[in-house]
Symmetry: D2
Subunit: 311 residues, 4 copies
């Protein structure tokens, strides 16, 4: 697409200068201390170009974005039997709601709300240890992105644990319905570490390529996941990727996307681009305010929406 660099540069300038930036998550001290003035955006396109603006190499906490990669790994490992333990419907509830678990006998509504991700972590851990499953997830992120420096931030992981009462409640609640095979505390260890992975926009955009190209790292790339796995992960991202703001994101942006409370968003335009965007301030639904606006403008100006004919 002609002028993509210009469009992204312009978005970068506007987003760096925006005055209303939302508020960074504060339940973990280290997240709350992040400078909300930061903004990064990186797009990797079908022809292998990487277009980066702003704080593209500033590491941030993946948080819920890691759930995308965890789901991919779990699907690769056990396939569709996964859906006997996790649903695939949007929840209509906040990410940390426990209500629906009770109504559905401990089967989380989808893999991107916290209880769903906890079950996915339990699946990743089957027959192995918490540490091995964290290593497997890191290994996949590194392989998919081609960047072997991606790692867990141990300080954040520990803070997640310290402030993890609600996730702890969920894990024990799921266990009460016998939908965890491993010890809840060990699964939480995996979960907290996975959420604490540090990543940059550049690393994330490269890691997400397999979602844009049916499991390959590009139109003629290496295969890192099955075609069906990529397609299905995208479907889940579009319907459930932004908690109870998922309909809103689909409506405004029109790309499969997944946000994290660290302020990052991974967005995918199948056949066209893998995009990572980051700015720490969140809106009331817990999604990055500036990153969402950046992606909305990008979709508007490029036509990159799965709901438009030119895409």
């Amino acid at each position: 697409m002609d002028g993509l660099e210009d469009i992204i540069a312009e978005i970068g300038r506007r987003c760096a200068a925006a005055s209303e930036r939302g508020t960074p998550a504060s339940y973990i001290p280290k997240l709350g201390q992040v400078d909300p003035g930061q903004f990064g955006l990186v797009a990797v396109t079908a022809d292998g170009r990487e277009i980066a603006v702003g704080d593209a190499d500033q590491a941030f906490s993946m948080q819920s974005i890691v759930k995308v990669f965890a789901l991919t790994r779990a699907l690769e490992r056990i396939g569709d039997v996964l859906w006997q333990r996790v649903g695939r419907e949007p929840s209509g509830d906040p990410f940390n709601s426990i209500v629906q678990l009770e109504h559905k006998s401990g089967v989380p509504r989808n893999p991107f709300i916290n209880p769903g991700a906890i079950v996915v972590m339990d699946i990743l851990q089957a027959g192995t240890t918490a540490q091995a499953s964290i290593d497997d997830l890191l290994g996949f992120l590194r392989e998919a992105s081609g960047d072997f420096s991606i790692a867990v931030d141990p300080e954040v992981a520990e803070s997640e644990d310290t402030h993890g009462a609600r996730n702890r409640a969920m894990a024990h609640f799921i266990a009460a319905f016998r939908n965890l095979d491993n010890d809840p505390e060990e699964v939480l260890h995996t979960y907290f570490n996975a959420c604490a992975v540090s990543i940059t926009c550049r690393q994330l955009a490269w890691a997400g390529r397999y979602l844009a190209w049916d499991g390959l790292t590009g139109p003629n790339g290496r295969r890192v996941a099955a075609s069906a796995t990529a397609r299905r992960t995208n479907a889940l991202m579009l319907t459930c990727g932004h908690y109870d703001g998922s309909g809103e994101f689909a409506f405004r942006v029109g790309m499969p996307g997944k946000s994290g409370v660290g302020g990052g968003i991974l967005a995918v335009v199948p056949g066209y681009a893998s995009i990572a965007c980051w700015s720490p301030g969140l809106d009331v639904a817990g999604n990055s305010k500036i990153a969402t606006e950046a992606l909305e403008e990008l979709a508007e100006r490029t036509g990159w929406s799965v709901f438009a004919s030119q895409c």
Copy 2:
């Protein structure tokens, strides 16, 4: 795409012969009497081809599919202020749930659940009569499809009214929150008539073209709706088009789609095709069992999924 006719013909044969066909809706006598052995599928593609198999010219009751066209008309009329009166998030509840209305002060969660469609009908009726708003909706269906024989089945409309206690409850409940401008009984008249529109797969596939081509009736067609309206209607279809089976349809089929309890489904592949499929038997979520399977197979064999790179 090479072989599309063959693929569709094969799907048609398989679906006509399938033994497990679900059960037709029975809350209205005339719907319950429909022969569940019927199956029709029509695709209209970018090059203007029409590929039809089976009972392509058998009329069926649009039911909830009409909500797509009503939303389009309402968006064309009042634009984004519509979203002050209806949400755009998946509901996680059945189509006829009243629970969420109470929690959200009479603002339906999205325009495709019954209470949402009732509010959309109220918007269509603003400043005019129930009859005029039904005529407007029929006019749009006729213009979009190019077929001026599309009409309301008065027997079904009357049955909807007779068996409409739950929709009646919803209309009065919304009115209690002052989210209806017109008399609830008049809005219900519009709603019951709209749901009772009779249509064939052929008519429906042609009527849906504007969703596949950004508001035009084809790549170089007439404009019947704004580009943004088409894109947004698609987004709503993908996230909310199959009630609490929406995530499932996105996952299995990967196309924006809208089902009705008459057994029809309208599915859209932006840039590629407008597809109508029909078979009267429903699954437990109230969506056509055979039509869903047909579309799943079509997506699988053609790659027509908004979540795949080749589409």
Copy 3:
């Protein structure tokens, strides 16, 4: 009990002078115009004494208090089969909540929330007309109180209808689950008229005697209801008589009681007294603020609590 007149006189003085009086219900114009400075209290005791203070002869709208008498009549008519159509558990929801109806397939949780009372009205109307069932209810109120001037306020009844969207929604919703035998609009006519009965504290205290003396109008009085009916009506009043403030009333006052948004409360001390109290201003839960305080003080000073040994 010695000094009861003094205690009640003192309560009357304090309650007439109180400055924080709550706010009268305003959804019906005539209710909103009532002077919130009014207060009345009448107790009829086992020895036949009537102790009255304040505005004891000022008529007010019975509103939900009428549900007590409607339940008694319905139990007398059909007995325990009534409980196949209405539950007898506290609801944990506001009086006008529709949520629970959906979860329980149209069976209201108890006869004192609005949908429950609507079903009770439907039972009263079985085999007769709306007018006849209103007359029956009035007849019972007159016979139980010995005052034949008790009547419906037609202006309030009409206002109830005009502002009755939410009750209308509930009636149709119940009908959708086939838990109404009569036409919903006719049942609503009965319901709106019943709520619009005008009564004074003096009339109400006399009408409620049968609840204090096992169905008799006093220790040696006439029988107007079966002993079991009185006892069971009391049980429902204690657990469900103040909507989602029922636990609070049991805790603070400790008498079976029923409030109405007209500001009245009927309270019963089995074996000791039938008490009516009225002051138009309501608290946030919709119960009379001053009347509740008066009854709390009365219970405190007399020991009239079903949870204390001296009673």
Copy 4:
């Protein structure tokens, strides 16, 4: 009352022989192994008589009945500020529901559902240790009953812990809302031990006397709790003592009562009697089937209902 011994003897014979006895709780092995054929009933009356039938000296697990005594102790210790941390409304939900906690920001709806009792245990533990608070509770049970052999069954306490995933989830969930002052695991230790107290009908009936006589152990007894505490504990028992079967128990029996899944029920007739009844088989709501029937017959034949005039 004349003939009370005869009435109770007759009830004892009928209940020992009944064929439909419900099913003992089975989530803990030791509870599931209890012989469902057992039945005991002991009443202690105003004149100091003790009437006992059946397995009156067979120890069973107090389970939720202990919540009555824990509430009494917590009210004695901190008074009405307790109600800032726990509500006093019936819940309309099962005893182990977590839903309502989310809607009310971690404030349990009443002290007799599991999360409410967990908060009460946290209050008992303030400024002391888990062991000291267990000892305090045992001390109160021993003092109130006059039987110093009442003790925790360590095997049951350990089983509660092993099978305590759901209670564990609740404790962590409450902690997430900062409504626990102590470590959740320590509070659970107290809770599990309290539920595991072993008691006989004879011991329980004597321990409950203070509820029947305004905090005294009899009409002229020792004071073990304040009068207001007794009255308020009774109010909570009547409205919330049988989970979502509380309205049913009030309706059928008409006494403040508290059940436990061990099959016991403590029932109180203020001024008349403290009654303990036990039979291990439970109904669908988790309350003892035979013990409920026994109390219903006792109320019927003695007139011991707080809703009848002769009581």
